[in-house]
Symmetry: D3
Subunit: 67 residues, 6 copies
């Protein structure tokens, strides 16, 4: 019955997010043995200014290695 | 900079949880391209009685297909 | 001082959400005895594609029994 | 498919928490029409010192009207 | 590596939110000794009707002492 | 009415956590103008193995600059 809340910066293409969801679901299924229909993945996307590191807003692409 | 909050029932072996963490981290790295050191996975485990479905507590193993 | 974070699919009418909030507040007041003004209910609504089960997006109405 | 995360102070009897879970589940079922088995209620209890108001820890019973 | 999730009513000016983020980051750095770049602050803003107290929606400014 | 959920590694002394709570409350009061009694700070501490970066558990002290 695992629930994954995924926090990420806004701005990724839909197909990338769909692929992320499928891969995370597979990872839970493979390692915990949960039935796929029991695995929930909830995405929360943060707009510019809502995600901050070291007191400054993070923007997708500005800090490639971290975002 | 993705953060994954994983909610799961308490009671899984440590090595299973470690494997879960590694697989989830890989899935984020592969699909979003984030550097591994920018990916955080936080596990929250729920004791008996804290996770409820249909008003009744869920217990690991009792409902194999779902937990 | 209970706080309820309610995660639900986007798309319900305002009056339904208001009724949900009132009923949840009453339920906490009745069972825990908390003063109503100490009970907070926070709604988070998920747009299409943000709530996924079995690796696929859930849409309000598509899966009537579950949403 | 609603998920309720309930944050409350630690220290309530098990039967009170069970009753709370059932009442919350009923409230969601009545107002949103969700099937009971699609409604999840997750309880998170906070020990002394972990829940703070006005910079000071809140303790169950110390502030009857609020807890 | 602390993460702060800040829940607040929508409607504050950007410069107020930026100042809030910087002050919170400083507070964590001063008291825990964490490096600033290890401190993350995530803001979640609630629109009208999403934040409820005593079963009624809270609006910024309507209840000055509380919002 | 702001709520701060603070996620941090387990193992800090109580007086450090109390000081953190007071400083965070002050920061919210100063920047948003909220009354102190309307500001809630909830601490969630993560035991060894529950907080992971790059797929590996983070331990307080092991990675001084980050924890």
């Amino acid at each position: 019955m695992p629930i994954l809340e995924v926090h990420l910066l806004s701005g990724r293409p839909d197909e990338v997010k769909s692929e992320l969801v499928r891969e995370l679901t597979d990872a839970v299924h493979r390692t915990l043995g949960s039935a796929p229909e029991a695995i929930q993945v909830l995405l929360t996307e943060y707009q510019d200014g809502s995600w901050n590191v070291a007191g400054e807003p993070l923007t997708l692409g500005k800090a490639a290695a971290r975002d």
